[in-house]
Symmetry: C2
Subunit: 230 residues, 2 copies
DNA sequence: AGGCACTCGTGCACACGTTCACAAAGCCAG
DNA sequence: CTGGCTTTGTGAACGTGTGCACGAGTGCCT
């Protein structure tokens, strides 16, 4: 059945850049800019102009040759393609350091991802209020997911509890997971998982630092020439 | 420091997976496992076995055919390649929700990235103690960077202040930046920047959710008749 | 010693992503 | 209407990443 997920597939690399374009276009729109060229958008987004055009071409031919792209219309098209025409409530599992920071961060709701709930096993945390949301016991997870129609879950538990948290999220009906714990989650194939691992990021930076130091161990500050982006 | 330090470059994709292997190997080592095959490591890391072997081959030929890899030795080699043979102190700019969560997170120090300092412009935050580190005024940033030999800076300010924070980090002598603010930083070419943008991650998940619903939800009433003539 | 089972290391083909380069398309001035 | 200028959209070349398939070592068992 429906062997063809018929819609033209947008390359992963492009999907990961569309949110960046979207944010920039939103800012430009707020500043009253009505039209923008791929060149300018590329500059603001720190990418190549041809890449911008190719990325946008996957949405359709929404530019005007010789002129550029109409900002508001492009915002609309990207939002539509990303499924941002309506809110996606999220549920957070784990109300520790990170869960609290996430709950207390207004940027989520603003961008269409309101926190529908936050749950924890720790009784001492249940009942406290974070960012306007009351922490509830993890047993209430299924109920939250169902009544609030939550599709996206966030795992913010220690690594040792992350797989269990993911299992509970899946059982409750969540179909996408954003995982902050430093482990590889095992989930059914149909579940989309994205991982954010700070330790990995730092270790990648470490690799480059180590490599930079290659010849002589001590890095010399200063002396760097500013990149002249206009 | 032989000229041979001119080690062949390791592909980015591999560098980003080495930390994952490292964590798994550490766990295995702690459990008393002495030897591991590429197949098993691939399973634990959620990747393809051939990929594991190819990745590890960039470090040199440290496996034993017919047997596998010696866990502790591999840990040593990966740590060496990633530059994890010594600590890399980091400095955090911005002691808000996120900065506090980061400072209060022990996992950093454990993995070789101790928090050398955390700074903020907000006088009311200066002096408070987070995760054992006292928040200092941003004017003290250069001093922290120099006395603690910090190479890595973390930007955890609002987007509007992130470029300024990055500029100050660079001026203070930092050469790698981990950016949590949702903007594209402009820095000298020599500076390595990595970005962690939660909004982007959520929007990517949104894309897949929207796509999943594709068949049953009619998002576009009548508009844009783009037939699938390819 | 020889054979066998196992697993690494890697050549190769293919998929995916990036960038260049240019014709086509649109706008505007005169 | 024409010519000149700008910018898009995309074919094609190139680079990077992935995964199969298999030769080459290694250890064990008989
Ligand atoms: N805090 C950070 O800055 C940071 C940075 C990088 C990664 N992380 C990762 O994020 C995760 C959370 O970090 P943290 O600092 O918030 O940890 P934390 O220990 O402060 O909080 C974890 C919370 O999860 C709860 N919990 C434990 N088991 C649970 C379960 N089975 N179900 C539901 N809740 C459960 C605990 O009660 C606790 O409140 C960890 O995996 C950590 O590695 C955190
Ligand atoms: N908190 C989260 O869960 C979360 C999630 C995703 C992204 N982010 C991003 O992380 C960044 C920080 O988020 P937050 O929730 O911690 O914000 P926040 O407002 O709680 O904290 C920001 C801190 O930065 C300080 N600051 C402002 N300007 C500064 C400057 N020029 N120099 C030094 N410090 C300065 C402020 O005084 C404040 O303490 C934001 O860019 C946000 O978009 C946060």
């Amino acid at each position: 059945m429906a062997p063809d997920r018929n819609r033209r597939r947008i390359p992963d690399a492009t999907v990961s850049r569309l949110p960046v374009y979207l944010r920039i276009l939103g800012e430009q729109s707020a500043e009253g800019v009505e039209s923008i060229s791929s060149e300018r958008l590329a500059e603001l987004g720190g990418v190549n102009a041809a890449k911008v055009r190719k990325d946008l071409s996957y949405l359709g031919s929404y530019g005007t040759r010789g002129v550029g792209y109409e900002v508001d219309y492009l915002v609309y098209q990207i939002r539509r393609e990303l499924g941002l025409t309506h809110d996606w409530p999220v549920v957070i599992v784990g109300a520790g350091n990170l869960g609290q920071a996430l709950a207390g961060y207004g940027g989520f709701g603003e961008r269409g991802f309101p926190v529908a709930g936050i749950v924890d096993v720790d009784e001492s945390k249940v009942g406290t209020v974070l960012g306007g949301v009351r922490v509830r016991h993890i047993d209430e997870l299924p109920q939250i997911v169902q009544t609030k129609r939550v599709n996206i879950g966030v795992v913010a538990t220690p690594g040792s509890a992350a797989q269990e948290a993911a299992d509970l999220l899946v059982k409750a009906g969540v179909t996408s997971i954003l995982n902050f714990a430093p482990i590889v989650l095992s989930v059914p194939r149909a579940i989309e998982v994205r991982k954010v691992d700070l330790a990995v990021e730092l270790q990648i930076l470490s690799y480059h630092e180590q490599r930079r130091a290659g010849g002589s161990i001590h890095a010399v500050p200063g002396g760097t020439s500013r990149s002249a982006t206009a």
